[in-house]
């Protein structure tokens, strides 16, 4: 309990720091978003009046306190670029991103852990070398390049999957069945998901393999073997169960890292997620959107860390908070 409170306070402080840094960072760059609603032909007075309405005329510290105040009221402001409330812009896209990245992260994690486990168990074999080589090759692949290659082969050459997007509008018109919609979504999900898994499984795989190799040498593995347990039980119930601990930590780290990959993947597969919106918001000085996005990323990373800690404590009885 004390730990949780502690953790929560840390989270709030971290968020505040991130908020302050992003807020000032954007405003230190020359140029502000009034380019969107000011015409060069307007008189200076008109421009000043309009800028005032968007709060851009005030000194930075005033803008900052105003901003903090409205955030506490749950108001993240209006996006300058999308001209709608920031939460409305982010909301649906975030959901779309989650639809893609949660299953992708989990599958790449399971695949990585499964293969790492297998490799450690069969160490020294050809399959291990092949897996390490393939894993690392995909790992070092440039995501857009791999993505386009996949689109070219799977979607264009063989016509198996749509080129991009999340749904086929034809299949979502009124009158279409829920099953039809779900299948259509799945159909769109396959390529980006496979692309993600291919590029990210190697990390988990190698960590799992190393961790597993260490665990296999432990005395308690000899004990369970002496107990007459089957190889499968020894591997899964004891060796993998202990080896997974460092991989859990790596998982929360990889969530933070994969946000970068998320931008590229969404761009290549035209996935209507949050990644691209975030990049655009920074490039276009869309302060409200960019700030909200940064807070969002920070929250995701912090929450992922928190979940990892809790999970770790659950998985490893030696750790108690």
């Amino acid at each position: 309990m004390g730990y949780l409170v502690n953790r929560l306070i840390m989270t709030v402080i971290t968020l505040f720091v991130i908020l302050t840094v992003t807020f000032t960072m954007f405003r230190l760059m020359p140029g502000d978003p009034s380019v969107f609603f000011i015409s060069p032909q307007m008189s200076t007075e008109t421009i000043a009046r309009i800028k005032a309405q968007f709060g851009l005329d005030q000194p930075i510290h005033k803008q900052f306190t105003n901003y903090l105040g409205s955030i506490l009221h749950g108001n993240f402001g209006h996006s300058f670029f999308y001209k709608r409330p920031v939460l409305e812009v982010i909301g649906e896209r975030l959901l779309n991103t989650i639809v893609l990245f949660l299953p992708a992260a989990i599958i790449s994690y399971l695949v990585g852990v499964g293969l790492g486990r297998y490799m450690a168990w069969k160490r020294g074999g050809t399959s291990e070398r092949v897996l390490i080589f393939t894993g690392l090759s995909f790992w070092t692949f440039f995501v857009p390049w791999l993505g386009l290659l996949m689109i070219w082969v799977l979607s264009y050459k063989f016509g198996l999957f749509p080129v991009g997007g999340m749904i086929t509008p034809d299949k979502w018109l009124p009158g279409s069945t829920l099953l039809g919609r779900a299948l259509d979504l799945l159909h769109h999900l396959v390529s980006p998901l496979v692309c993600y898994v291919l590029t990210w499984f190697a990390g988990n795989m190698l960590i799992m393999r190393n961790s597993m190799l260490e665990t296999i040498g432990e005395d308690y593995i000899l004990t369970v073997r002496a107990k007459g347990l089957s190889e499968r039980k020894i591997r899964n119930k004891h060796a993998a169960r202990n080896a997974i601990l460092p991989v859990v930590t790596a998982f929360s780290m990889s969530i933070a890292y994969s946000i970068g990959g998320c931008v590229l993947l969404e761009t290549v597969f035209s996935w209507p997620g949050i990644g691209r919106t975030m990049v655009d918001s920074v490039l276009l000085r869309d302060y409200p959107l960019a700030q909200a996005s940064f807070i969002l990323i920070a929250t995701v990373v912090l929450v992922a860390n928190l979940i990892t800690d809790i999970l770790y404590a659950y998985l490893d009885p030696r750790i108690r908070y």
């Binding site: 760059m29 020359p30 140029g31 502000d32 978003p33 380019v35 609603f37 000011i38 015409s39 060069p40 032909q41 307007m42 200076t44 421009i47 009046r49 309405q53 209006h78 999308y82 001209k83 709608r84 649906e92 599958i107 695949v111 499964g114 486990r117 386009l148 689109i151 979607s155 264009y156 016509g159 999957f161 749509p162 080129v163 991009g164 997007g165 999340m166 749904i167 509008p169 034809d170 299949k171 018109l173 009158g175 779900a182 299948l183 799945l186 159909h187 396959v190 499968r232 591997r235 119930k237 969404e266 761009t267 290549v268 597969f269 035209s270 209507p272 997620g273 919106t277 490039l283 000085r285």
Partner: protein, 586 residues
């Protein structure tokens, strides 16, 4: 536990495969039977609010719903589809001038808004008054020459103007008109708000109502927008002369338009090649042409891009760039043909005047072209001699040896002061590769003259800030928007536009140009106007506030096996007229 996990993975994988297969097999519903033009957009539109929409992809959609506007010059009046002469559009006849300050416009009867109500003079007056009251940035120039708008009867409007100029046609008579019934409620709310402009600007239009050929159906943010045909469109079934001897018959003949958004051009092109979409409403890179031409169901069309002429503009406020001779020497050093050949792979046209060479009626091809096409040695020797004549000296003078140019170092002005580093500012490579790469090449060419030049690639808001708002720049490489009628000859070069936020950022203020330009604005005769525009282009080519560089070819490709009757226009083959006229191929 682990075996179960493996089992789960296998089951999930099988489900995915199953999903894939079934999704292919399930017949798509209603839309399959109807004709739907599927158009890929490379950027997603952000808003359908015509007051705050500024980017091209927003306007592709807005202009199919409304008539007229900031990128769609089709309001009360329009241009003929090909010869680009003025014709009545929602107006019934050409405007009648009562005197130099009053003009009367009569509207067509029976034009309907998408909700079935009638389009009247009240809507026109409401719209212009609204723009005036709220100082809408996109429409600011539609109202700044109006004194008053008066409704004579539901189909007659009287405009009281500050003076009789052609600008009024382009600006006010072609503006977008909003529906009074819908917008007066929004305006009432805005007036009550403490930040009225902000309220209007951020107003989310969920269900736009216009008078255009297509009606809004639904939007899925970040994914698609669906429109359906407007059978009550006032031009439906009408045949209009294109002005070049041909004619077009307006539909719309397709049931729906689906705008689908792709995250990048490469995927959209693959979708086009694979038949997932029928066309892409976005200029394609030249690099795509060979592969697109190989696809049997596609037609590739190239037209010079009407939208902007790329230029290098000078800040004339300070020496040495305020020296015309210095600018001329810089102009001789630029190899436009190299830019076209290497940078654009031939898919562009060099421009000598600030006008689109594709608009043959307005483009003056006989202005001074600064040895375009001549050898490097001859261009540089001319540049060096001009500089010498104007009193410039060097630490080490550039020299011509045979066909080679030996670069100079440390150019000095006639007063012996060193010319400081010249900075070329432009948008980043990612935003606009042609501008960025041109800037880099130009800086190399100028360095050979001993002029220390560097490039500064910046984000768009920074560019606007430094150039337009603070006027802190030396040279800008950018694009000039070119309208079918050459109004840019006024607004990029008018002395009135020099003030802090004006368009004339170079601070160009030659009297002979100002006088010629104001005379030209009063010319309503088409051929006389052309002569005037030619003269203005000549003066600009001599004074060189800008060095025009090139226009890009606007490359469009479409699936000719699905729809026929596409119309090639100055802005490419994918345009509002095409979409209003194409028919499904049976």
């Amino acid at each position: 536990m682990e075996m179960k996990k493996m089992r789960t993975i296998v089951i999930v994988t099988m489900l995915l495969c199953f999903g894939m297969v079934t999704a292919l097999v399930i017949p798509s519903s209603a839309m399959a039977k109807e004709s739907t033009v599927k158009i890929g957009l490379v950027m997603e539109p952000q808003t359908l609010n015509p007051l705050s929409a500024e980017s091209e992809q927003n306007w592709h959609i807005i202009k199919m719903i409304y008539c007229g506007g900031y990128i769609d010059p089709r309001g009360l009046y329009a241009y003929t589809p090909k010869s680009l002469e003025w014709i009545p559009y929602m107006a019934e006849s050409m405007p009648q001038w009562l005197d130099d300050k009053t003009v009367v416009v009569k509207l067509k009867k029976g034009i309907k808004w998408h909700d079935g109500s009638e389009f009247t003079a009240e809507d026109v007056k409401f719209t212009l008054d609204f723009f005036g009251e709220f100082e809408a940035a996109n429409y600011y120039n539609t109202i700044d020459m109006l004194e008053k708008v008066e409704v004579v009867d539901p189909y007659t409007i009287k405009f009281h103007v500050k003076e009789k100029t052609t600008l009024l046609y382009y600006r006010t008579f072609m503006t977008l008109i909003l529906q009074k019934a819908k917008w007066s409620k929004i305006v009432t709310e805005a007036r009550k708000n403490e930040a009225p402009q902000k309220y209007i600007f951020n107003y989310v239009i969920k269900n736009p109502v216009g008078t255009g050929p297509f009606k809004f159906v639904e939007e899925k943010q970040g994914q698609y927008i669906l429109l359906e045909k407007n059978d009550d469109w006032f031009l439906k079934g009408q045949t209009i002369s294109t002005g070049d001897g041909g004619s077009v018959t307006y539909g719309p003949f397709v049931d729906r338009i689906l705008f689908k958004f792709y995250g990048n051009l490469s995927s959209a092109v693959l979708a086009l090649k694979g038949g997932e979409i029928d066309t892409i409403w976005h200029g394609l890179d030249a690099a795509f042409i060979p592969e697109l031409k190989k696809v049997k169901h596609l037609t590739v069309s190239t037209k010079p891009y009407y939208h902007d002429v790329k230029f290098a503009g000078f800040n004339l406020r300070e020496k040495p760039l305020s020296d015309k001779m210095f600018r001329k020497a810089l102009a001789y050093a630029i190899d436009k043909d190299f830019l076209i050949k290497r940078l654009l792979q031939g898919y562009g046209t060099a421009s000598d005047a600030i006008e689109n060479p594709g608009l043959e009626f307005w483009y003056n091809g006989n202005v001074e072209n600064y040895f375009r096409g001549k050898s490097e040695a001859s261009r540089y020797s001319k540049a060096i001699s001009i500089l010498k004549e104007a009193g410039y000296t060097w630490d080490k003078e550039p020299k011509i040896e045979g066909s080679r140019v030996i670069p100079g170092v440390g150019i000095k002005m006639s007063d012996g002061k060193k010319v400081r580093t010249i900075e070329i500012i432009t948008r980043t490579q990612a935003t606009n590769p042609q501008e960025a790469q041109s800037a880099i090449l130009i800086s190399q060419w100028w360095k050979k003259l001993g002029v220390d030049t560097k490039t500064n690639l910046v984000a768009f808001p920074t560019l606007i800030n430094n150039v337009w708002w603070e006027n802190k720049f030396d040279v800008i490489v950018f694009g000039n928007i070119i309208e079918p009628y050459p109004v840019h000859l006024q607004y990029y070069f008018d002395v009135k536009e020099i003030y802090q936020y004006g368009w004339n950022v170079m601070a160009y203020k030659e009297d002979r140009y100002q006088k010629a330009m104001y005379d030209w604005l009063k010319v309503f005769d088409w051929d006389e106007a052309r002569k005037g525009a030619f003269r203005l282009q000549e003066i600009l080519a001599d004074d060189l506030p800008h060095i025009p560089l090139f226009v890009l070819k606007n490359i469009h490709a479409y699936n000719h096996t699905r729809f026929k009757g596409w119309i090639e226009q100055y802005n490419g083959v994918v345009n509002k007229d095409s979409l209003s006229c194409i028919r499904p191929v049976k």
